[in-house]
């Protein structure tokens, strides 16, 4: 086949049915809704959330996980678009990171050293370790599917970012149930769960995000 013939062929398929941004938003919404419903139908929202939501630790937990979810998802969206600079979006990931460090410092300064161990340990770390990865499955599938329609330069990295975003979303959802409020707990168990999802995203991305 001559190149001109191929061009004729491609030209006949000119119309773009779905734009990348559109796919991403729809898939993401579906993924988030599935995970939210999954939490509501299994564990449910924390019983005393109405009162607890006003306490600084709970506010911090909800805010931080949401911040990670938003910044990482934005990066995941851009990473599928060729020729777009990722620098500023990548730098915004420092926001949740520095917020976490500030939270840890604040916690260490108000909690006596003898109680640090108990704060890290929390009460339901195994729930956290199970639910963060579980709640991330649907968003991860949605984000990987979307990026697959795009053209990421580095499939492994794009997969990792997808995993980080999905982990952040899962954390932001699980935080509405989670009864452990210390930033030390957050820094330990949530981080492990999110890192597991990030690693999984990278491994899957290497396979499915090639184009």
């Amino acid at each position: 086949m001559q190149t001109d013939d191929l061009i004729n062929l491609l030209a006949k398929d000119a119309h773009v049915r779905v734009r990348f941004g559109h796919i991403f938003r729809i898939a993401l919404a579906i993924g988030v809704v599935i995970s939210a419903v999954l939490l509501l139908s299994t564990l449910g929202i924390r019983k005393n959330m109405a009162e607890m939501i006003e306490t600084p630790r709970v506010l911090f937990k909800l805010g931080l996980t949401l911040l990670l979810a938003i910044t990482a998802t934005r990066l995941a969206f851009l990473i599928g678009k060729p020729g777009v600079s990722l620098r500023s979006a990548a730098l915004t990931l420092l926001l949740p990171l520095s917020a976490l460090l500030i939270g840890i410092a604040a916690e260490l300064s108000v909690v006596p050293a003898a109680a640090w161990g108990a704060s890290v340990e929390g009460r339901y770390s195994s729930f956290c370790l199970f639910f963060v990865p579980t709640l991330s499955i649907a968003p991860l599938a949605a984000i990987l599917y979307s990026i697959r329609q795009g053209a990421p330069q580095n499939p492994g990295l794009a997969g990792a970012v997808a995993g980080l975003a999905a982990g952040g979303i899962a954390a932001a959802i699980y935080a509405w149930h989670c009864p452990d409020d210390s930033p030390l707990f957050l820094a330990t168990w949530y981080s492990i769960g999110i890192l597991v999802v990030t690693a999984a995203g990278s491994l899957i991305g290497r396979r499915v995000l090639r184009w």
Binding site: M1, Q2, L6, I7, D13, K81, P82, V84, G150, R210
Partner: protein, 188 residues
């Protein structure tokens, strides 16, 4: 025509193409091909790939541009988008041909800005790749590319609706790109 005027023309064609204007899309693809060929030729030279592979690389890049055009944000300039796709696909394609390559994005941009001198070539691997497709996809691809038939003619001949032919054509093109990827990997 200077570079920015040309880029604006490309962007206008691409915009129209995404809305379904096949003629504009044809102009766009015809216009970028000489540039793709000149980049591909330079890279094949540099990394010791035989010149016969140049046209394969060009066609693979064209397919990638085609399948990923939904990622172009019409509010952004088309040049950087195109350069990024071309560069990534070029690296990928040469790598699968067994070359360890790196292609600086600046080089791609520069080539896109230069005036190409074009000599067309043909030979294609796509022919062999077509064997990997199933009917009616293969039939549709043959009919349109080699026979020069339109969507409507093809639909009438195969007794399909035009919509079904369009969908099958799109799938066939996706299939071709996937065949390229798997074929090269399997062959080393």
């Amino acid at each position: 025509m200077n570079h920015s005027a040309r880029e604006e023309e490309w962007a206008a064609w691409m915009c129209a193409a995404m809305a379904g204007d096949t003629l504009a899309y044809h102009h766009f693809l015809k216009a970028i091909t000489p540039y793709l060929r000149s980049i591909a030729r330079r890279r094949c030279d540099q990394f010791g790939a035989p010149p016969s592979e140049v046209e394969d690389v060009v066609q693979e890049v064209l397919l990638a541009v085609h399948l990923k055009r939904g990622t172009w944000d019409t509010s952004r300039p088309v040049g950087p988008w195109l350069s990024a796709i071309v560069r990534n696909k070029l690296i990928d394609s040469l790598r699968r041909r067994g070359r360890h390559v790196s292609v600086p994005i600046e080089d791609v941009m520069e080539t896109l800005e230069a005036i190409p001198h074009d000599e067309g070539a043909d030979r294609l691997d796509v022919d062999r790749m077509l064997e990997g497709l199933r009917d009616p996809q293969r039939d549709i691809v043959r009919s349109i590319s080699l026979g020069g038939a339109g969507i409507r003619e093809t639909a009438e001949r195969l007794q399909m609706t035009e919509g079904a032919v369009r969908v099958a054509l799109h799938r066939a093109l996706k299939g071709l790109a996937a065949l390229y990827r798997s074929d090269r990997r399997a062959n080393g």
